[in-house]
Symmetry: D2
Subunit: 304 residues, 4 copies
């Protein structure tokens, strides 16, 4: 399989489609980005890199970090975590508080904001220096210094965190939150403010395509069973209330972020990351989603 030719072809086709979306503007640091940026990178299981466009440009990974932090607590918590957060698709916007009320403080899944707050609360309970430990973990699984926090974004996220504060207090009211809310929100927004480029983001997802073993860290990150479960979660819940559409059209486990990034894996084959800041109305990157759809359409193999 000539991945480079494939990536180039996908890049050209998507670029020529004239897709127009809306850059996230809830904080000024995200709104200021060049809307025309677009890149993608594929990393196979030998670690070869294939990229096109702005695939070396760093961007805010935002909610994609929810997969990294979930991985960090899977290891620690095992099954106990799943009493505090469910594994069902939400069918509602990512920051909905209504569903949390109907279901008495148990978030639908770990990738909506309420669920990720529970995950971060668990992470703060178990790690000594959560911010440093997150950085160390991501650097480890990419095999080099690959990630840094954007402090302006971090501060701005904190300044605009009223909805997440509402979710956290609501979780606490239901006894599903153990640590200081400000502290957890600080770590939560820190993880959302991380910046990576497409190569490193794809590398950080490589072990998901490899049964849980990371070729860059040269160690097992997740048991095969845990690895399958996170892949399953990404397939059913990775794209908010557009998860079914992504599974239907693309068919890969993946996760999007409001910064315009998408990371996904084809188990046994490769990991891939795409980035373009223009979003559709569900908050997912138009070009990145389309790039992955074309990629799987052109490939012979599929999850199903």
């Amino acid at each position: 399989m000539d991945y480079q030719a494939l990536i180039d072809e996908v890049y050209q086709e998507v670029s020529s489609m004239g897709l127009k979306g809306k850059v996230a503007d809830y904080i000024p640091q995200l709104a200021d980005i060049d809307p025309e940026l677009f890149g993608l990178a594929l990393v196979d299981l030998e670690g070869n890199i294939y990229g096109a466009g702005d695939y070396r440009k760093e961007f805010s990974i935002q909610s994609i970090s929810k997969v990294h932090t979930l991985t960090m607590v899977m290891h620690v918590f095992k099954s106990k975590l799943w009493h505090r957060v469910n594994v069902e698709p939400s069918g509602n916007p990512f920051n909905s508080v209504a569903q949390l009320e109907y279901e008495k403080g148990i978030p639908r899944n770990p990738f909506i904001n309420a669920g990720a707050l529970v995950i971060t609360d668990a992470l703060v309970s178990k790690y000594e220096n959560p911010e440093k430990d997150i950085i160390d973990f991501i650097n480890d699984i990419t095999g080099h210094k690959s990630v840094k926090v954007n402090e302006l974004v971090h501060q701005s996220e904190i300044d605009h965190s009223d909805r997440n504060m509402a979710l956290a207090h609501f979780l606490k009211a239901h006894n599903n939150f153990n640590n200081n809310i400000d502290r957890v929100l600080d770590v939560y927004t820190y993880a959302c403010s991380l910046e990576m480029n497409c190569i490193d983001l794809a590398r950080s997802f490589s072990f998901f395509a490899n049964d849980g073993y990371c070729i860059f860290a040269k160690r097992r990150i997740l048991s095969q069973s845990h690895n399958q479960r996170i892949n399953s979660l990404m397939l059913t819940c990775g794209f908010y209330d557009e998860s079914g559409e992504f599974a239907f059209r693309v068919g890969l486990p993946g996760k999007s972020g409001v910064g315009g990034g998408v990371a996904a894996v084809l188990p046994g084959k490769f990991s891939v990351a795409a980035f373009s800041p223009q979003l559709n109305e569900k908050g997912n990157s138009l070009k990145a989603m389309k790039a992955l759809e074309l990629l799987t359409t052109k490939l012979e193999f599929s999850l199903f």
Copy 2:
């Protein structure tokens, strides 16, 4: 009309019914109350007092204070307030956050918690010393020193305010909250922690029965129009999602509190307060509601 005989009759009948409910237990200070307390007091428009049972016993007025604080800001804000809070019955529990999400941060009415938080936010904007001003206002409309705060209840309310914190942050996320959240919650829980007896609570509602003029303060508190509007709000929204039932069976504008109190008025005739800590499943006092139902059934006149 022999109000004293009427009150006595109602007291006897309700006492003999064996009604059993559940005392509020979300904070220990409320849970510790003697569940058998029951009293009621009626105040006519000449200021005569008719009471039965534990009508001189002080209790936590809780949400009944929402009517007092709304009155304090009606005077200041006039119509502008109604861009921030609606006047429709909620049809949902008093502390629902789901409805607030569906309606984009505009609370259904000023008597559900979200609406009362907006009212308190407005009050904090306009009054120099909100706590003192609330006390002064209530003392003024009862004509003597009638109210005090229970500091243990106040502290405990603050310690159990996660749901209200969630509502406040959600309001702030929708730009419907102007002041520091902790400060507003402090005032909000202060007002909920006020203690009065049935006589003084009925006196504090007297002007609602008298077109807005208070015979105890010897001054107009609300314009006739504002007075009618608050009475209308109490009739349609005063008893959470049991408001229709109360209007249907009792037919008086009124307001309940989770401490077991209910205050109501028959315009042109009298104000009345009843108190018993055992609540029904909607959070309204079983005996106090039944007492007011019997009262209007036995009386010849009615709102309708």
Copy 3:
């Protein structure tokens, strides 16, 4: 009180406001009406009539008939009916099926469509010739032949009744529907297709203002208690999810219809009907609502 001068003044002021709404167009027979029609009529408790504008023009009373049919079964059923339909404001659009699902087949109140279907089902159970009996009842309470059905509207309502069919089947699935669905829908749409003018509509509401005694039929229609309860229901639930707003601004028990009519009462004083086909976004007549608001503002007396 010079009611004729008052009515004229209200008519002139509302006419000069340039209010613009949208005529109901879900069936062609309603859409074809002259949108500029506007009339109002007041009937005092001696039976004197005061009118302005198109107050002698007949129009489709639509949901206002729900009050007449409820009155017909109040007499028959007494309290048993209230196990099948609640008395709470809905807080949702008049034809919502979602709320009916959440509340397991018990409609919120008798004036939303689901509730009115239960009422009509009860009426079909108890009356031999429902259509004729409805006509006879309304003629009786207006004191002369005052109402007729528009068969074109009736047929068109039947042809567009899928939402109501959905509600009826849902009620049946919850064992809250006893008769043949097509038969009940036929009677339901028949009542919605009745036509009256403002004078007769006001006359038909006169007994609600008179403690349940009808001066035209020269007999008691409802007990004082039942009369108060229907008035209470109209105040809290008579204008769909705008009921709170109407109570707040107007303060009268009343009922609106999608044909542009509104009927209301001031207990002890008068009944009133207004009509203009241009509706606001909640489905209530803009000019008729405004006319009643001005009327109560200009009057000295009020419910509260």
Copy 4:
């Protein structure tokens, strides 16, 4: 891989767990089944059959037929169908009408009842003799006469179809229903009343595991792309509001029915069917679900 040993092991383990659920009782014909029945059968891509327990016992396939009927119209409609029904997980019970209201008559996916009604409506539009064509289709893909309708169940389903009638009328009110409602409900309940045993049910799912080519019919049933999309839909939506849980624990595309059956596939490997009438609270078979979970846990390979 010794599939027979695996199937036997799974059968023994699940049998010894003492799982207790509730047999569907909304119609008497389902309630009368022996609750202790339990069987499973696996069919590999060469057509070899491996079974255990009551795997030759016929049972009511109920909603599993929704996959067959969807397959029949995929072929005819291609992409046009997806304007009428979405592909997102529902997050709500299978017969919810509330979600349909919020989303304006577009069902969440083709496997909830509202979506399956749209599919059946499309099927009635395109097939001359829908009942016969469904039977012929299933017989074709199993390679022999494998299915028959239980007329008692069929009649009973019709007699208990008020909720589905409500959904159909609601769809029609939103212009998302083209045929006579009674006719479509007749076909819909017919498909739900089909009976198969585990072998034939697994055979009927074989082509889903084989890129769309059926070894029994000896022809392509679905294009590779359509096949992947139905597999994706089964993974994200096949088990009502327990779909995420099934994907998380089992990780196979599949579909359950209220008769106690489950059918699933491992693409490239096999199809499998299990049956036991005792259901969990979500309406899925307790033992069948557990059997598939054990099966994938014991196997080396997985979708992810």
